[in-house]
Every structure is written in structure tokens, then in C-alpha cells.
Symmetry: C2
Subunit: 133 residues, 2 copies
Amino acid sequence: MQLRMTNQREMILRELKKSKGHLTADELYERVKKFMPRISLATVYRNLEILSDVNMIRKLEISGRQKRFDSELEDHDHIYCVECHRIENLEISKNQVELPVEDAHGYTITGRRLEVTGVCPRCQKKIAKTKKQ
Amino acid sequence: MQLRMTNQREMILRELKKSKGHLTADELYERVKKFMPRISLATVYRNLEILSDVNMIRKLEISGRQKRFDSELEDHDHIYCVECHRIENLEISKNQVELPVEDAHGYTITGRRLEVTGVCPRCQKKIAKTKKQ
DNA sequence: TTCTCTGCAAATAATTTGCACCCAT
DNA sequence: ATGGGTGCAAATTATTTGCAGAGAA
């Protein structure tokens, strides 16, 4: 199966990179639609699936009901705001997370995913304000 | 809001505990239905939501499209088979994962979720067999 | 020209909700 | 008896798919 670089695919890739990652399919759809008003959400879904299959982008399976996509391919972890659902990258040196190779129930380990949850600075301020009132 | 321990709620809780965790709402529904044929899937969903709100069970947001629920409240991590989507518990001593308190982008950290991905022993065997043929 | 890709609409999957009745407290 | 809980069906949300025509190689 030969991949073709269509205008739609190129635009989707460009907008995902521009956003610095972590968009859902429909968020990306809204952005791309500004430049290509006739593009369909199905095209966005199909392309995100294909592009992550060929490792041009990364599919994140993290908190929240929708899948998110990341244009950053380097290994990194994420921090997730439980208030506003924002997701940001986290650079953790790899040796800070030791994988339990022996007690992995016999699994062949292929990767790991670390997600830290918390409250982002913006939401901390919002909460502080609410309490004052 | 006062919680009531209905037969349905009790049964859901019991079957989840019996299964040792990690069931989806519809898997649990199938099990509970054996004892209560008239229970509805909506009741299972509603109860899982309520029970995790009051911390009697835990909602897992991990790989796969469906949410899973865990009767084990103790902190632990998970290992996920990318072939058969099985999920198992992983006991990792807490000091093996150091949280990046300083470089957490100003977040107040409330928790962390570590998911290791791999291939379970059963699937390793299956794959080995397929290759031989 | 060829075969992948696209837009559209319809289908599916997972979950949630409105409503009238039920039952635990 | 009161108000949370239930079953049922319909609604929502997220995602996928069939199909006929479009366009990249």
C-alpha cells in the first residue's frame, strides 16, 4: 500500500505540528476546516489513524474519553490537568522510571506510559479565586 | 445525597471483587445478568460511576476504548497486553518512580498512572506457533 | 491510467439520560 | 413517606465504514 501526500493529509500534519500536539480529532478538524472548509471529519480520523500507523505521529491513550494525537515522536511522558483536561509534555529522564523486568508476569515489555495527574497553574488560580468569593 | 445499598449495587460490587478487577461495564453486565436477568446495562454504568465517585472502586483510564473498573483500591500499576488486551496488576515499589516535582510546569501533583505495555506469555506462545507454520 | 483518498451519509460502539415506577431507609 | 435507584427506550458522543467520484503518482 503506497501512501500519497494529499493536500488534506499535509494540512492535518501541519496543523498538528503547529499546535504542538495533544489535539483530539475534532479539535484538529476545527482548525483544518478554516483552511479547507469542505474537509470531512472522517478524513481527519482516517489520516490520524494512518499517520500513527506509519509512525509519523503518535496516538495517545490517556485520560479523557477521546483519543489525542501528538506530532512529537520523541519518548516523553505527560501531565494531565484534572480540572481543565489540558495535557502537557513532561521530560523525565529515563532512569527515573525503572521497569520491573523480572516481576512483569512473564510479559515481553514493549513500552511504558507514565501519566502524572494534577492541577495546572491556571486552574490553581481559578480555584483560589473561587474560594475567596 | 444518601447512598443506598440496593441488591443491584451489592451484586455489581460483589462480581467486580470476585473477578479481581479490570472488567469493562458490559463484561460486568454479562456476569451480573446471570444472577439478575432483568438488570439493565444502564444500571451497571450508573453504579460503576457512583461507586468510583465515593471511592469504593477505581475507574481505570488505560489503553483500549472502553473504561475498566477495578475493585482493588491500593495503589498499583498495570501491564497491558497489546495482543489480547488483557490487563494485569503490577506491583512497583513507589520509589522506583520518582515524580518530577520541580519540572512539573507548576502543577500541583495529585497522582500518577504508570502503564507498561507488552506481550503476555500466552500471546508470545501464539505468535511463536504462527511463525512456525 | 491506476489505485489511494475524499466527502457524504449511514452504521456502530460506548455511554448517558428522561421518565415513570420501585424500594431501601 | 421520601427521595435515591431501576428498567426501558431514546439520545448523545466518538469513531468507523460503504460507496461513488476525485486526484496524486
